[in-house]
C-alpha cells in the first residue's frame, strides 16, 4: 500500500500521482492521511485504484471519479463524487450538500446522513444513504437510483425525470411532479441488490421501502401546469 501524507506533500502531488496511474494495474492500494478537510482530494481519478482517505474531506472529493473505489473514513464536504462516471465512493460519516450531483455512473454510499440536494441532477449514478437526506434531494434527477434508509426532507424529487427513488422512512414533502408509485417485484429485486452493494442489507429489507418517481406531467410545457413549476 502506498501511504500519502497530504499534509506534508500537498494536493497537487497527490492528484498528479493518482492521474499518472491511468492504465496501470499494479500499485492499486492507496492510503491518504492528514486530509484535514482539503478540497478535490482524488478528483479526476481514472484507474481501478482502492483509495482510503483517513479523515474528513472538503469539497468535491472523488469528483468525476472513474473506476476507483474511494473510501472516506470520516465525513465528506459538498459535492462529494460529483459527476462520478463509474467506480465506488463509500463514506463512513455524513455528506454535505450536493452529494453525487450530476453523477453519471458508479455507486455512492453514505453511511451517515446526507444534506440538501443529494443526487441533484443525477444522470445514472446509484446512491445509497443509510441515514436521512435533506431538502430538494434528487432535484431534476434524470436517471439512476437513490435509496434512503432514513427520512427525506422537503421537496423530494422536484421536477424529477426518470430517476428511481426509494425511501424507507418519512418524506416531509414531495416536489413538483414527484409521486409515490407502486412497488413491483423488479423494484424489490433492484433494492435487494443495491442494499447489499451499499453495505446496508443488514439494516433494512426491500419490503420496508416506498417508491417515488415522476408523474411525467411536466415533461412538455403546458400553460395549464404553470402553477406547478
Amino acid at each position: 500500500m502506498q501511504t500519502f501524507d497530504l499534509g506534508a506533500q500537498g494536493l497537487r502531488a497527490l492528484n498528479s500521482a493518482l492521474h499518472a496511474l491511468k492504465g496501470q494495474t499494479n500499485m492499486t492500494e492507496w492510503e491518504v492521511i492528514n486530509p484535514k478537510g482539503s478540497h478535490a482530494i482524488a478528483a479526476g481519478v481514472d484507474a481501478a485504484l482502492d483509495i482510503t482517505v483517513r479523515g474528513s474531506t472538503g469539497y468535491y472529493c472523488a469528483g468525476m471519479n472513474k473506476l476507483a473505489t474511494i473510501r472516506i473514513k470520516g465525513s465528506a464536504g459538498p459535492g462529494v463524487a460529483e459527476n462520478m462516471m463509474s467506480g465506488s465512493v463509500i463514506i463512513d460519516g455524513d455528506a454535505s450538500q450536493y452529494a453525487g450531483a450530476t453523477g453519471r455512473g458508479g455507486l455512492l454510499v453514505i453511511k451517515g446522513n446526507a444534506s440538501s440536494r443529494c443526487g441533484i441532477s443525477m444522470k445514472g449514478i446509484e446512491i445509497v444513504v443509510h441515514g436521512n437526506i435533506g431538502h430538494m434531494s434528487a432535484f431534476m434527477a434524470q436517471s439512476g437510483t437513490m435509496v434512503v434508509l432514513g427520512d427525506a426532507g422537503d421537496a423530494l424529487g422536484d421536477s424529477l425525470y426518470e430517476a428511481r427513488l426509494f425511501v424507507r422512512g418519512s418524506v416531509k414533502s414531495l416536489g413538483a411532479d414527484c409521486i409515490e408509485k407502486e412497488m413491483r417485484p423488479e423494484h424489490l429485486a433492484l433494492l435487494a441488490d443495491l442494499l447489499k452493494r451499499g453495505e446496508a442489507d443488514t439494516k433494512a429489507k426491500p419490503s420496508e421501502f416506498r417508491r417515488y418517481g415522476s408523474a411525467r406531467t411536466l415533461y412538455s410545457f403546458n400553460i395549464d401546469n404553470a402553477s406547478s413549476y
Binding site: 478540497h39 478528483a43 472538503g58 468535491y60 459527476n83 462516471m85 450531483a101 440536494r117 431534476m140 415533461y219
Partner: protein, 443 residues
C-alpha cells in the same frame, strides 16, 4: 353623410399594432412567446462610436505594407497550456442540439481555417466539432449534459458558464421537437421531451464556491487548461471582479445582443445590458485589480464586422466572440430560402423560431432532411471568409489609428455620436471632450 373632414385613424404609440398583435397571440394561446436570437430592439451600440484616425498628432501605418498583428493569448494567468489564436474573433458556445451536427462541424472547419477557436455548448462535445476544431473550448454548464472528464481533458480550454447575455439569470430550454435519439442519449433524457437547463450550477453557489470549483477542474485536468468564466451582461464590474477573485484565466462577457437557442422573448428584450455599457465596467474591474491583460477579456453580443471588433478592443477587450453572425455566415436566414420562410409565416432575416427545429437552412435543426441541405465544407469556407474579412477590416482601422497590433487600440482612438453611447462607452462626444457622467466637458 357629412362632408366635414374626418379625423384620420391614429395609432397609439403605446398600443402599437405589433403590441396589440402580441396581446392577441397571448390571449389565444396562453403561452409566452419563445424564440431564438438576441434582442431586436434598437440599443446604443458600436455604430454610435467612430474612430478618430491618425493625422498630425498621430501618424498612421501603411495599409498594405506595415505590419498590424492580430494574434491573442488566452489563459496566461494559471494554465500550463494557454491558447494562442491567430485572430481575436472566436466562435461563441452553441450547442449540438440547438444546431445540427453538420453545422457544428462547419463552425469547427471555419474557425480552424481562420486560426481561431470554437466552443461547445449545452449538450456536450461532439466528434464532429472536436475533430474539426483545432482549438476547442468546452463549456461547463449548470445542466452538465454530456459532461465527462475525458472530454474535459481533450478540450483546449474550459468555459464555466454562469450566464449569457440573452438571459442573465436564466436557464435554457430545448423543446422536444429537437430532441432526437442522439441528442437524448447525450443528455441522459428521454427522446422528445422538453429539456430544461438549470439557471444555477448544481454543486456550487457564490464566488467562494466558484473558487473551489475552478480549483477542482484544474486538479482534474492537471492545471493544463485555461479556465474561462462566462457571465451575462448584468453587473459586469462586480461579476468580473468576482470571477478574477475566483481564479479565472479569462472572463467572457456577453451583452444582451447575444443570442440564445431559445428563451422567452420577454427575457431577451427586458433583462441585461447592451455590450457597449458592459465592456468599460469589466475593463475597470480588471484595471482596479491590476489584472487587465493578465486575465483576458472576451466580449460578445452584437459583433458583426471588423469595425465592431476594433471598437470592442479599443475599449479594452482582448478578443471577441461571435454567435449570431457566425450562423448568418453559414447561411442562416438566407433569402434563397424565402419561399420556405413564407410558409413558416416569417421572412428571411427575421426567422427566429430556431427552437421549432424547422430551419429551412438546415442549421438550427435536428431534422435529417433539413440538416442534409447544409454542406459543412461550404459552410466552413464561408465562415473562414467572413472571419478573414472581419480581421482585415479591424486591421484597416488599427493601421489608420497608427497601431501595429489590434491590442494597441485604445479608448482615446474613439469618439461617440450620442450622449448615451458616450456615457456607456466612456468616450467623449464627437467634437468635444465631454464624457457624460465623468467630466464637465469644457474644452
Amino acid at each position: 353623410m357629412s362632408d366635414f373632414p374626418r379625423t384620420p385613424p391614429r395609432f397609439s404609440a403605446t398600443f402599437t399594432p405589433a403590441i396589440n398583435a402580441e396581446i392577441r397571440r397571448a390571449a389565444a394561446t396562453g403561452i409566452y412567446d419563445i424564440r431564438g436570437g438576441g434582442t431586436k430592439r434598437a440599443l446604443p451600440h458600436f455604430d454610435d462610436l467612430l474612430f478618430l484616425g491618425a493625422s498630425i498628432s498621430r501618424y498612421p501605418l501603411e495599409g498594405y505594407r506595415e505590419k498590424c498583428a492580430t494574434d491573442v493569448w488566452l489563459g496566461t494567468r494559471f494554465a500550463k497550456k494557454p491558447i494562442h489564436l491567430d485572430i481575436p474573433v472566436t466562435i461563441a458556445g452553441m450547442s449540438f442540439g440547438a444546431l445540427s451536427g453538420p453545422a457544428k462541424e462547419a463552425l469547427g472547419r471555419g474557425a480552424s481555417a481562420a486560426g481561431t477557436s470554437t466552443t461547445t455548448g449545452d449538450g456536450g462535445m461532439t466528434e464532429e466539432e472536436r475533430g474539426h476544431s483545432r482549438t476547442l473550448v468546452y463549456q461547463y454548464l449548470p445542466s452538465r449534459y454530456g459532461m465527462n472528464p475525458d472530454d474535459l481533458r481533450r478540450a483546449d480550454a474550459i468555459e464555466i458558464v454562469v450566464g449569457q447575455g440573452a438571459k442573465p439569470g436564466g436557464g435554457g430550454m430545448l423543446l422536444g421537437q429537437k430532441i432526437s435519439d442522439r441528442v437524448a442519449a447525450m443528455r441522459n433524457l428521454p427522446k422528445g421531451i422538453d429539456q430544461r437547463s438549470a439557471c444555477r450550477h448544481p454543486d456550487w453557489t457564490g464566488p467562494d464556491d466558484l473558487e473551489i470549483k475552478i480549483m477542482e477542474l484544474r486538479e482534474i485536468t492537471d492545471w493544463e487548461k485555461p479556465i474561462y468564466v462566462k457571465i451575462g451582461g448584468a453587473r459586469p464590474y462586480y461579476d468580473t471582479a468576482l470571477a478574477v477573485k475566483a481564479g479565472a484565466d479569462v472572463v467572457v462577457l456577453d451583452g444582451m445582443q447575444g443570442g440564445t437557442a431559445a428563451t422567452q422573448d420577454v427575457f431577451i428584450e427586458h433583462v441585461g445590458m447592451p455590450i457597449l455599457a458592459c465592456i468599460p465596467l469589466a475593463v475597470k474591474a480588471l484595471q482596479d485589480l491590476g489584472m487587465h491583460r493578465k486575465v483576458q477579456l472576451i466580449v460578445s453580443g452584437g459583433i458583426r464586422s471588423g469595425a465592431d471588433v476594433a471598437k470592442a478592443m479599443a475599449l479594452g477587450a482582448d478578443a471577441v466572440a461571435i454567435g449570431t453572425a457566425a450562423l448568418i455566415a453559414l447561411g442562416d436566414n438566407d433569402p434563397k430560402w424565402e419561399s420556405e420562410y413564407q410558409k413558416l409565416g416569417t421572412t428571411a432575416d427575421a426567422y427566429d423560431d430556431w427552437h421549432e427545429g424547422r430551419d429551412p437552412a438546415g442549421i438550427t435543426t435536428q431534422d435529417p432532411a433539413l440538416s442534409a441541405r447544409f454542406d459543412p465544407i461550404l459552410g466552413g469556407r464561408r465562415l473562414k471568409n467572413y472571419l478573414k474579412v472581419m480581421t482585415l477590416e479591424a486591421q484597416t482601422i488599427a493601421r489608420a489609428c497608427g497601431k501595429n497590433h489590434l491590442h494597441n487600440l485604445e479608448p482615446e482612438d474613439l469618439c461617440a455620436l450620442t450622449i448615451e453611447a458616450a456615457a456607456m462607452a466612456g468616450v467623449p462626444i464627437a467634437g468635444t471632450n465631454w464624457i457624460p457622467g465623468r467630466n464637465s466637458g469644457g474644452l
